[in-house]
């Protein structure tokens, strides 16, 4: 097993990647070396780093002799333009960071315009069920030899994509058995439950209801969610939930994680839920 860490600043990283997690996770996770640092956003283009930040993360990765991996979100036309501008601004970095895409428009942009960036398919490509209300009833084991995701994995491999990433879903077979040659990556300990452009945290900044939710889609966002995550208590699930920006996350039950880890080549650890 190897590890990646999703970072949000350039602070020094612990010598053991597992140390970014709470104690219960540290003891459960298998040992392994740090191989990558992840940065960026999968859920909101307004949270993408600037080119200076990307260079700083790449420099940090280089000094640690690990891969730099830029996360990119599902993208509106404006978001896609922002991603294109960012990629153009970091195209000269050597070695080039890998880019995780969660949108076919971003995947096409990488293939057609920026082919030198190594490409990885992100966790939003897996639309499997992650309902926290049902997660604890999910089967404790499953066979990765089924046909779920087989055509998608073949398509990705044919397009030259190097990895397939996901967080913990209920079905549990999305990463497959590795036959397509894609590196299989699992995000822990948080999985997303639901995401939206109608951001509750963005609405905190609104002066009136006429700037909130659907009616605020055309308004820019200053990113008030940066560095914030909010505990959510719901009567219909005992799992710990958080809202971070435009997305609701939950902590994956460890028994579920143990079953999924057996399918993964890399685990990306998140110190906190972040969109």
């Amino acid at each position: 097993m190897e590890y990646g860490i999703h970072v949000h600043d350039a602070n020094p990283l612990p010598p053991d990647a597992r140390d970014v997690c709470e104690a219960s996770w540290r003891t459960m996770l298998p040992p392994g070396p740090l191989r990558a640092i992840y940065f960026g956003s999968e859920f909101c283009a307004d949270l993408l780093p600037g080119r200076t930040e990307v260079r700083r993360y790449c420099s940090q990765a280089s000094s640690l002799n690990v891969d730099a991996v830029l996360l990119t979100p599902i993208a509106s036309p404006g978001g896609l333009a922002r991603i294109r501008k960012l990629l153009a601004g970091i195209a000269d970095i050597e070695p080039a960071p890998a880019v995780v895409f969660n949108d076919w428009g971003v995947a096409s942009l990488l293939r057609d315009v920026f082919p030198h960036f190594p490409r990885r398919a992100g966790r939003l490509m897996n639309r499997g069920l992650r309902d926290p209300r049902l997660m604890e009833q999910a089967p404790a084991s499953f066979s990765p030899e089924g046909d779920r995701g087989r055509r998608l994995r073949a398509l990705l491999a044919g397009l030259g994509v190097g990895a397939l990433e996901t967080d913990a879903d209920i079905e549990g077979t999305f990463l497959g058995d590795g036959a397509e040659g894609l590196q299989r990556v699992l995000y822990l300990p948080y999985a997303f439950a639901a995401s939206s452009r109608n951001c509750l945290v963005k609405a905190e900044e609104a002066e009136s209801i006429d700037q909130c939710f659907t009616r605020g889609l055309d308004l820019p966002c200053k990113g008030p969610c940066r560095g914030r995550w909010h505990r959510v208590d719901r009567p219909d699930t005992a799992l710990p939930l958080w809202r971070a920006g435009n997305t609701v996350f939950f902590e994956v039950p460890q028994c579920r994680a143990e079953a999924l880890i057996r399918q993964a080549d890399r685990i990306v650890l998140q110190a906190r839920p972040a969109p």
């Binding site: 428009g105 945290v201 609104a206």
Partner: protein, 319 residues
């Protein structure tokens, strides 16, 4: 320039045609599905409350629809192992029995259908979250026929997404969604997850949570209200002229599981708005005609129900 109407039974076809439906969509669960896959939904809605009961009734729907196309939703966001083979075979059978197209979200099912040479019959579900022109081009290159745009897009964004060589469908009436539908990894089979979202979130102000609850209430048809028999939920009727100019081919009225009176009223008011738009009416004239039928002018004037609120200038009044 067509009104796409939902249905769940052949007995609804005549009323919806009379109301102005130009094309139909429905959901149908394959025979043997439940025995193999249990309670998993094949098309994003409960088969009991939203699905056509069986293939025989589907054939009656096609017959009664005449030359109006009938599309079938096989649009769960993912399928369990073994389901894609069953659904692709079922899709072929549906097309042979008169379906004009299949609404699909799952990438494996979409690829299975395109590999079978049926790409042109595939409509990409809004659940696939195609929200930029590059993504639309990717799907066009796979050979699909139509893209259903997700709900949460501005008119300006829609104008940037549309590309030649594809049909596009846009949401017009009813049934909002708090989250991005394609990025909601929960299931309504366990109750709508969004119903309880907001409350219980630490660190968010009471005022914001109150606004959130009100917004969710409007998405849920303003507490299931009607105005003079017309639904009081999300609405894009005034935006039809702009959407027509953009090149939208089909306007979706949502709600397979709704009662026939609600479906018929929705199609009637949508068809009236489309007729006005084709005659050159501007958004304000359409809004006046909608309010004359539906009432509750404040809900329109303050953009509470708008699918596409950027059609109207934002007011500066606080609320």
């Amino acid at each position: 320039m067509r009104i796409l109407a939902p249905l769940r039974h052949s007995s609804e076809v005549a009323s919806l045609l009379e109301a102005g439906a130009d094309e139909f969509f429905c959901g149908l669960t394959p025979p043997g599905w439940t025995a193999r896959f249990g309670s998993a939904w094949a098309n994003r809605r409960a088969p009991q409350s939203a699905g056509v009961p069986d293939l025989a009734d589907f054939v009656r729907i096609v017959d009664q629809a005449g030359d109006r196309p009938v599309y079938v939703a096989l649009n769960a966001p993912y399928y369990p192992d073994g389901a894609v083979a069953m659904l692709s075979a079922f899709g072929v059978e549906l097309l042979e029995r008169g379906a004009a197209g299949l609404i699909v979200a799952d990438m494996d099912l979409l690829l299975a259908l395109t590999e079978s040479g049926l790409g042109a019959k595939v409509h990409l579900s809004s659940l696939a979250t195609c929200i930029n022109a590059g993504s639309a081009k990717f799907y066009r290159d796979l050979g699909i026929g139509r893209i259903i745009l997700p709900r949460h897009l501005t008119l300006k964004e829609i104008e940037q997404i549309l590309i030649p060589g594809l049909e596009f469908e846009a949401f017009l009436l009813n049934d909002g969604c708090v989250f991005e539908e394609g990025l909601c990894a929960t299931t309504h089979a366990a109750g709508a997850f969004c119903n309880l979202d907001g409350a219980g979130t630490e660190g968010i102000s009471g005022e914001t949570l109150e606004r959130y609850d009100f917004w969710k209430w409007t998405l849920n048809h303003s507490g299931c209200r009607t105005g003079n028999g017309y639904p009081m939920g999300p609405c894009g009727l005034c935006a039809i002229p702009r959407l027509l100019a953009t090149g939208i081919a089909s306007f979706k009225v949502v709600g397979r599981e709704a009662s026939l009176p609600r479906k018929a009223a929705s199609v009637r008011i949508a068809a009236q708005a489309l007729r006005l738009a084709k005659q050159g009416a501007d958004p304000l004239v359409i809004r006046q005609s909608v309010v004359a039928l539906r009432g509750s002018p404040q809900m329109c004037e303050e953009r509470h129900l708008c699918y596409y609120p950027d059609l109207w200038e934002r007011k500066k009044t606080a609320c």
